[in-house]
Amino acid sequence: MLMENKAENKAVFDAESAKDVAKELRDSFVTGKTKSYRWRVTQLKAMLKMLDENEPQIVAALRDDLSKPEFESSLYEIQMVNNSCRLALKEMNHWMMPEKAKLLDTSIAKTSLTTFPSSAEIVSEPLGVVLVISAWNYPFLVSLDPVVGAISAGNAIVLKPSEMAPASSSLLAKLVADYLDSSCIKVVEGAVPETSALLEQKWDKILYTGNGRVARIVMAAAAKHLTPVVLELGGKSPVIVDSDINLKVATRRIIAGKWSCNNGQACVSPDYIITTKDYATKLVDSFKCEPERFYGKDPLESKDLSRIVNSNHFDRLSKLMDEEKVSSKIVHGGQRNEKNLQIAPTILLDVPVNSLIMKEEIFGPLLPIITVDKVEQSFDLIHSSGGKPLAAYLFTNNKKLKRKFVETVSAGGLVVNDTAVHLAIHSLPFGGVGESGMGSYHGKFSFDAFSHKKAVLYRGFAGDAFLRYPPYTPGKLTLLQALLSGSIVGIIRALLGWFWA
């Protein structure tokens, strides 16, 4: 009886509701409330408090949604957002300051003489009312990290968490309403209908984290309103493993980036490995013993591995593993528990390059190893495998290989001799290219992503180059040519124009 009443009372979030939310936030934004430094500071401090006082609840929600180990929840979801808040609180003053634009650069003095005397600066202003659509795999991190950026830039915000992590979504809705300014920051829960309703409205910026299919829908909706977007997508992030390296450390770092990142369900998880035929055996052996040290003899019993998010993805991953020419290539792992939605760390060797597992982003605990004759051939393999990935990794001690890697591989970000850690370095922009996305954030890049950089030119009344104005005589043309080309004589004559106005 009670449940029925609840169902009836729960309002449907439709186009009208979306319009109301957008209007309410716009009205709030127009009052200038979110622009004030104080408001931004209070919101960020409130978020810190929110994370601090609710860590157990957040960990519990993530355990419900993903069986995420406490360590991962604490570190990658709570601590990283905490860091972003603290960085913003520390640097925001600095980020908000206008940036002086150099007008009189000695190397281009001739350029600026046409606009002298003047001064110029670039002023950051909030875009307005922004929409953040987040993903299910790091429900707190990819919801709140963009929100931190949007707050620090002075915007009003709607956050739409993923319905595929329902416990996290509803906890986010509750916490944001309890701790943050609900007249300016709102959470809208729901699935496709609610997201579509939101996408019909006009936003000043949309930041979407997720997959390429939905990203196209988001960008097409944004096009109707000329809304700029940041799309944080994914791809098949390759790991090239050279020989003559510290194999143990390399293996551990790959394991950490793969199975200790939500059991491979992370946009920057190593997707597949490329190594030489000669080195493959050593590598496979290393991968046969190291995981046990991390997850125990029976990984399905380990508390340190996330489960697969839902049965759809479980089935998808099973299909990848069970494909005819692929299932025989499993050299380690492969254990599954459908009821608990668990798949153990699984290594495959030399799957066919045209198999499903090599065509789409795996986003799970399966790690194929592809072998090539020479390690340099791995670059061709990466480039032929479709879209540019979000990340690419290389383990090597060879300087030349490092240089070639860095110069030729196109990906959102590259890491040499490690995996995934670049996310934690806030001085590096985090974003994709091509199929892996557009735009970037983290650190100051978050602030920039949600700001409009307004160019401001201050001119005085003195120094009006008569050359600018009609009557246009051939004489003026010559002078203009001289001025724009920087000839001294021409410049002097142009400056004399000050007295001829």
Binding site: Q79, L226, D304, S410, N417, H422, L428, A455, P470
Partner: protein
């Protein structure tokens, strides 16, 4: 056409556009193209738009020469990777951001500045190492033909191509996959471009337009300042292609009591610059074609609008000329006050108090530029913080276009993305993050099995609480 694009992709894949020497050679060739063909460029601009050589040099040829020269002098600096700071915890490590070309880019340009708006983005695309397909506007046919014929004579045909044609060619091009699309034009077409780009997740830069207002505060106490203001307003309205420019002043906002003085000053300046009557009109472009001419004439059809004309209003359909026209307080709901004018009609809106201009501007969508002629520092601050536009220029018009160190672009309905100077290079680049790590030392707490100790360790590490870490390691902190 698909073959051309395949060739562009092949050239890019083979690294043909990567080297700095290639980029420099192309830029130098472009400079040569402009230098050796100035007269033909002037001729084409005169044919399409009636631009005089001085206007053409000032707004197109000169701008481009400046842009290429500046790019050539800065290219090495821009291409170099930039170091990024690495927190102590991650050392030893090296972090940097390296710009990389996006790949095969498509540039759509507009008809009003057919050379600048085609070649300035091209300069950016080349400097960033991309291959390019340029689609100039067919509404400036002589300029388009010039580009189609001349570019292949100077630039690397395998990497830079120009395609002629109208909207149908544009539509076909948009079906294909590009690594970037750069579009200058109207918001209506901007939407179509972005929607098409969405299918391929292609990033876009949209340089659109809007109604660029000019606020005129009390400057009439000083006659010389008033004169300069009038010149800059006239120069900023009718100077660029007779008002057919995205950054031209669209309308004026002035206090009631100064309106008549303003109008008199403007009239004097207009007569001096452009002539007294439509028959003696000189030093000014014409309207690009019949369609635009008709559109502008229609703006004046409304009797309430026609009645507000205080100067000008004459048109010459044969020559596609409309004389500089000033209107005083046309009805605010009329089309001339709701659409971007893009022509030689200047409405003056009077206000009781100039501060009202802020609300007035905010009632319309974000323009590309807000011009404000004022010496009141408080008012300047208010304009900056209470309005939103691509750019704000105080006490002048148009010149912000020449500043290579200022980003040029819109916000809201006036577009997104930006270019000019280094921003052109950036807009056609992907900033790739790179982190170099060493195998040693190893931080054990990264790895499972997780323990409380490891958790506390990483927490402290993340907070860069190095002292706390030391305490923990020495056993003085309990997990």
């Amino acid at each position: 056409m698909e073959k051309s694009i395949a060739e562009l992709r092949e050239t890019f894949k083979n690294g043909g556009t990567k080297s700095i020497s290639w980029r420099k050679s192309q830029l130098k060739a472009l400079l040569q193209l402009i230098n050796q063909n100035e007269d033909s460029i002037f001729k084409a601009l005169d044919q399409d738009l009636g631009k005089s050589p001085v206007e053409s040099y000032r707004d197109e040829v000169g701008v481009l020469k400046k842009s290429v020269t500046y790019t050539l002098s800065c290219l090495e600096k821009w291409v170099a990777p930039k170091k990024a700071e690495v927190p102590l915890l991650f050392l030893p490590a090296k972090a940097e951001v390296m710009p990389q070309p996006l790949g095969v880019v498509l540039i759509f340009s507009s008809w009003n500045f057919p050379f600048t708006l085609a070649l300035d983005p091209l300069i950016g695309a080349i400097s960033a190492g991309n291959t390019v397909l340029l689609k100039p506007s067919d509404l400036a046919p002589a300029c388009m033909s010039f580009l189609v014929e001349t570019i292949p004579k100077y630039l690397d045909n395998k990497a830079i191509k120009v395609v002629a044609g109208g909207a149908d060619i544009g539509v076909r091009l948009l079906q294909l996959k590009w690594d970037k699309i750069f579009f200058t034009g109207s918001p209506r077409v901007g939407r179509l471009v972005m929607a098409a780009a969405a299918k391929h997740l292609t990033p876009v830069t949209l340089e659109l337009g809007g109604k660029c207002p000019a606020i005129v505060d009390t400057l009439f106490t000083t006659p010389s300042k008033a004169k300069v203001t009038a010149k800059r307003i006239v120069g900023g309205k009718w100077g660029p292609c007779t008002g057919q420019a995205c950054i031209a002043i669209d309308y004026l906002l002035v206090e009631e009591k100064f309106a008549s003085t303003m109008i008199e000053l403007l009239k004097k300046t207009i007569k001096r610059f452009y002539g007294e009557t439509i028959k003696s009109l000189k030093n000014i472009s014409r309207i690009v074609n019949k369609h635009q001419f008709q559109r502008l004439v229609n703006l004046l059809k409304d009797p309430n609008v026609a009645n507000s004309i205080v100067y000008g209003g004459s048109v010459d359909e044969e020559k596609l000329v409309i004389e500089p026209t000033i209107l005083l307080d046309p009805p605010l709901h009329s089309e001339i006050m709701s659409e971007e004018i893009f022509g030689p009609l200047l409405p003056i809106i009077t206000l009781k108090n100039i501060e009202e201009s802020i609300n007035f501007i905010n009632s319309k969508s974000n323009p590309l530029v807000i011009y404000a002629f004022t010496e009141d520092e408080t008012f300047k601050k208010r304009i900056l913080s209470e309005t939103s536009s691509g750019t704000v220029t105080f006490n002048d018009s148009m010149v912000q276009f020449l500043c290579d160190s200022l980003p040029f672009g819109g916000v809201g309905q006036s577009g997104f993305g930006r270019y000019h100077g280094k921003y052109s290079f950036d807009t056609f680049s992907h900033e790739k993050s790179i982190l170099h790590r060493s195998f040693y030392p190893e931080i054990e707490p990264r790895y499972p099995p997780w323990t409380d100790f490891k958790l506390l360790f990483i927490k402290l590490a993340y907070e860069f609480d190095y002292f706390g870490l030391i305490l923990l390691l020495l056993g003085f902190k309990r997990s």
